[in-house]
């Protein structure tokens, strides 16, 4: 169902807008079911503003914002048998839809776990507000420029990390109770 021609026309527009060098960082990625655009985090603001503002594209609806762990950290075995994880990436997937033009597009951005900063799109689509908070809550992705980036589903005082990360460890105690009890 991938609308390859449409995605190509979108990338051509970005080549005009950003110039050859920057636009070459926006890559069309084909996965078995969905084709999406991989955009570096520093270009997210420009790309999203263009998708939202340009009436020819008119992506007026952010359907879904997903945080995800790419699970690509490098495992190294220590001498005592334990494992250490280094590196690894997190990603954010945006499903956008244009209701007047009946078009869909998927944008993906990958950020390193060491510095997971992505510009917030809440100023464009209000529906991103809580979804970004959820992605922060579960993966610790920092959305810069978000008006109120606090935990949403987990307790506000949760201090044991971000539970949906693949390397998450359960705490031994929570509020004086042993886990698992």
């Amino acid at each position: 169902m991938a609308d390859t021609e449409f995605i190509k026309s979108v990338t051509d527009r970005f080549t005009l807008l950003l110039g050859e060098e920057k636009a070459s960082q926006i890559v069309i990625t084909e996965s078995p079911f969905e084709t999406f655009l991989t955009v570096p985090a520093e270009l997210i603001s420009v790309v999203m503003t263009e998708l939202y503002d340009n009436p020819a594209l008119g992506f007026d609806s952010l359907v879904l914002l997903t945080g995800n762990d790419e699970d690509d950290a490098v495992k190294t075995k220590n001498d005592d048998g334990s494992e250490t994880l280094t590196g690894g990436n997190l990603s954010v997937v945006y499903h956008l839809e244009s209701l007047p033009n009946r078009k869909k597009i998927i944008i993906k951005t990958i950020v390193p776990k060491a510095n997971p900063e992505v510009p917030s799109v809440t100023p464009l689509w209000v529906s991103a507000d809580w979804q970004e908070r959820e992605a922060y809550d579960m993966y610790g992705i920092i959305f810069t420029g978000h008006p109120n980036l606090i935990r949403i589903l987990m307790p506000y005082d949760w201090e044991f990390g971000f539970p949906l990360r693949k390397d998450y460890q359960n705490p031994e105690f929570y509020q004086g109770i042993k886990v698992p009890y």
């Binding site: 996965s31 078995p32 079911f33 969905e34 609806s61 359907v63 009946r102 209000v126 507000d129 589903l153």
Partner: protein
């Protein structure tokens, strides 16, 4: 002599246990006298780590967990999840299953809207319609009990088919129910829809215009009440909905402004009428066949990612599944309509009276099990 009258902002907490919040939800309300300045919803009281659980379960094992998200529309949650897995695994389901899914899905839509409409009446002070609605919903639950054995959480629609063969009495009893139920909608309209007190309480309140609705990601009945004709059954068809003839009702501001609370209420009543139409067209045409024939022994989903969405009674319910080719998914992200709709509350309540919070919250029809997952 009073030099200067200082009015202070007051903060009150509604919930977590409050009968009109339809679940465990805490609202931090900032007031200036009787006027609402800000509403901050605090959610997460029902958080059951659905997305974390899915990563350790196989696809058929996830189905019962899916039930427990939107527990008023469990059948439709299963429908959406089954569809998502089938599209990725390339499973073709027999036409008998497709027809049954549509019939059960639309019955579920009626049942869910009956709760929405009934409890909304209760929220603004009308007790009788609530009892009437629940009486009729019981009959739908009995039909579900007949086919699946359960009344609330069914585990009936599986990826590839249905868990049990259809009960021989199901078709007859469903037809009897439709004959019984149609006049009840007229009764409901006389009792609540046209009731002057109800209209005074809900018309021109919490008006949501189309542009704002789309920017807030609003879908389903709430978007249609604002006057935008958008229904995934028609605009992004799935299953066999393209075979049926039905209208998509939109709000027109009959009692006040388009997109007010009354419109959001009435759109649900009219959608029940359309659901009846769909069931009537489908119930006589259920093909013969085996509902379990396409259920695979082991579901293996090829690596890749896909977002599948269906028109849940509350709006767009989506499943974004990322698979790495294993028996269990790498990631299942749900797009719960209630979670997105709850963001609206602050916007709609600002500047209204504190007593209207309950009327506005009831009109956007949220289920907290789905908000928190």
């Amino acid at each position: 002599m009073i030099k200067e009258f200082v009015s202070e902002e007051m903060v009150i907490n509604m919930g977590p246990q409050h009968p009109s919040t339809h679940g465990v939800l805490r609202l931090e309300v900032k007031l200036d006298g009787e006027i609402v300045k800000e509403v901050i919803p605090h959610i997460g009281y029902l958080h059951r780590c659905f997305e974390k659980h899915t990563e350790a379960l196989t696809y058929p094992q996830i189905v019962p967990y899916v039930d427990r998200m939107d527990y008023l529309a469990a059948m439709y949650n299963e429908f959406g999840f089954a569809l998502a897995v089938e599209r990725m695994a390339g499973i073709e389901v027999p036409p008998r299953v497709e027809y049954m899914r549509v019939i059960l899905g639309e019955l579920q839509r009626i049942a869910s809207h009956l709760v929405a409409v009934g409890t909304y009446g209760l929220d603004v002070g009308a007790f009788t319609p609530f009892l009437f609605c629940f009486r009729d919903r019981e009959k739908i639950l009995s039909l579900f009990e007949l086919v699946s054995g359960a009344r609330l959480l069914y585990n009936y629609i599986w990826p590839g088919g249905l868990s049990k063969e259809i009960h021989p009495d199901f078709v007859r009893l469903t037809k009897e129910f439709l004959v019984y139920f149609k006049p009840k909608l007229t009764e409901l309209n006389r009792l609540l829809t046209g009731n002057k007190i109800f209209i005074d309480r809900t018309a021109n309140l919490g008006v949501l215009d189309i542009e704002k609705a789309i920017n807030y990601g609003v879908t389903g009945p709430n978007l249609r009440a604002s006057g935008y004709k958008w229904d995934l059954r028609r605009d992004d068809p799935y299953s066999i909905y393209d075979k049926f003839d039905f209208e998509i009702p939109v709000g027109d501001g009959a009692m006040g402004t388009t997109g007010d609370c009354w419109d959001r209420y009435y759109i649900r009543v009219r959608e029940m009428e359309e659901s009846i139409k769909i069931i009537e067209q489908a119930i006589d045409n259920i093909p013969d066949g085996d509902v379990k024939s396409a259920i695979p022994k082991r579901i293996k989903v090829p690596a890749g990612q896909l977002y599948t969405r269906v028109e849940n009674p509350r709006g767009e319910l989506g499943y974004f599944i990322i698979s790495k080719g294993a028996n269990n998914p790498f990631r299942v992200k749900v797009r719960p309509p209630s979670f997105i709709h709850l963001m609206l509350l602050d916007e709609l309540c600002r500047g209204n009276l504190v007593a209207d919070i309950v009327a506005i919250l009831g009109s956007i029809d949220i289920v907290l099990g789905e908000v928190d997952r």
